[in-house]
Amino acid sequence: MLRDSNQIVLKNIYKNFGNVKALKNVSMTTDSGKINCILGDNGAGKSTLVNIISGVFPADKGEYRINNKTVEFLNPHEAISAGISTVYQSLAIIPIMNIYRNFFLGNEPLNNEYFKIIDKGFAIETTIKELKKFDINIEDPKRLAGTLSGGERQLLAIARALYFGAKILILDEPTSALGVKESNKVVEQIFLLKEQNINVILVSHNIDQAFILGDKFFIIKNGEMVGHFDKLETSAKSLRTILEK
């Protein structure tokens, strides 16, 4: 399914936490159909930037525009309604809950509005169908999510975000907890998100992997944007040189 184009523009963003200057004059533009990578060390300000985009807290100063309209999100729900979904490292997947209930967690489909009864048939069918799109074949979505592999859980969280209307998808270190094989599975599927015209914002400190996947690279160091490149202008080696300088 092709989604409509959405451009995010951040201009001269500042954010302080007490005396700590977490972000200083950060600007970036991300587009649909592209994988936009935010690279940086731990504590460089990646999470702060992601939290501003996803509505966890606002910037102190600066402009945040989506499709040329200034936006101000008071909480993550407003951002989600605007089509911005975040898949955090914790995934918000509950291992001791079954797969289809995880898929519809907080958005349960109801077949009776008054008694709020869950439409299980629909939930199960949809879960199977949506996971298949990510090459995961689940015969029994009543299994506990804890029985899924790490990669499958990551893809479950992504599939869920897309099903509920994400047009801009923020992935926070999607492969950091995974082994090589699992990681490849996830990388392959993230790459395919481009075909759906999703605006993917990938947060990572794995430069090699990000370079294979990404179209655009933003490098953050000590709260400042020290460089942004298109794929053709750079290489994994030169990205690393800038990051480690």
Binding site: P76, H77, I80, Y88, S90, L91, A92, I93, I94, P95, I96, M97, R101, F104, L105, G106, N107, E108, L110, F115, K116, I117, I118, K120, L144, G146, T147, L148, S149, G150, R153
Partner: protein, 271 residues
């Protein structure tokens, strides 16, 4: 407990409910259904207070409700003594509205020549309702999610505070219900009604497979746990074993159940 919290105040709420209903009916002369309703409002407010204190303070409900256990029990004893000078009150059977209350809460039904107390049917009805609520409704899903992982539930937009407060109000309601069946059965109240019922409830639920950490369990399991508790309690006497061994047996059952449940959780929580 599936919602991730304990309510230790239920036993004391049973005592308070039975005392409140009896005092209002016998001493204040209010008809029994009305005093039961007034008591229900009082009990639900205490449940609400338990809930709001837990969610706003972020402290373990174990401690908060342990506190309310003592507060409620203490108030029940003190107030009964001030008003009547006694800790046991009877005489509700001759009061206004007792007949209609007793026909609902403590009647007997005869099926195939055997007498069954109506409370058994209430027990089954609440079991079925609870099962349906947990397994088939949105609120049920939210209860599981809140108990398993507050952070995940919050990220997915579940109002975890509301879920928890309503659960504390629900346990309070159940205490009230038990108290009413006891008052109509025994025709009076005792400040010590419901003592240690909080432990019985936890034992039944844990033997029934509910995780102490929340997020997993079932009503059917808890009902089976309660049955085991009841059968052993009665059966141990018929089996000719000294009833003192009952507590030992329950303790062993409880610890074994917790170990098994814990092993299960470990297996799936990490994947």
């Amino acid at each position: 407990m599936i919602g991730g919290e304990f309510d230790l105040s239920i036993g004391s709420l049973i005592g308070l409910s039975s005392m409140s209903v009896t005092l209002l009916t016998v001493e204040a002369g209010i008809s029994m259904p009305l005093s039961a309703l007034i008591t229900l409002i009082l009990i639900l407010s205490i449940g609400y207070l338990n809930g709001i204190t837990v969610v706003k303070s972020g402290l373990p409900s174990f401690i908060i409700t342990l506190g309310s256990l003592f507060i409620v029990r203490g108030i029940t004893i003190a107030v009964s003594k001030i008003i009547t000078g006694r800790t046991q009150i009877g005489g509700i059977k001759s009061s206004n509205g007792y007949q209609s209350m007793s026909s609902v809460f403590s009647n007997h039904l005869t099926i195939a020549g055997t007498d069954f107390p109506i409370s058994i049917f209430w027990w089954m009805l609440f079991g079925v309702l609870g099962y349906f609520l947990l397994k088939h409704t949105q609120l049920g899903n939210w209860i599981f999610a809140t108990g398993a992982s507050q952070e995940s539930a919050k990220l997915m937009g579940i109002p975890i505070q509301k879920v928890k407060i309503s659960l504390f109000m629900l346990t309070a309601f159940c205490s009230w219900f038990i108290a009413i069946t006891q008052v109509t059965t025994f025709g009076g109240a005792d400040v010590l009604r419901g003592e240690q019922k909080e432990f019985v409830a936890i034992i039944a639920v844990v033997i029934g497979g509910t995780l102490l950490t929340g997020g997993y369990g079932s009503i059917i399991g808890a009902m089976i746990g309660a049955l085991i508790f009841g059968i052993v309690k009665q059966g141990i006497i018929f089996a000719g074993v000294d009833a003192d061994w009952f507590q030992v047996f329950m303790g062993v059952m409880l610890v074994s159940a917790v170990l098994v449940n814990g092993a299960f959780r470990k297996k799936y929580a990490q994947g």
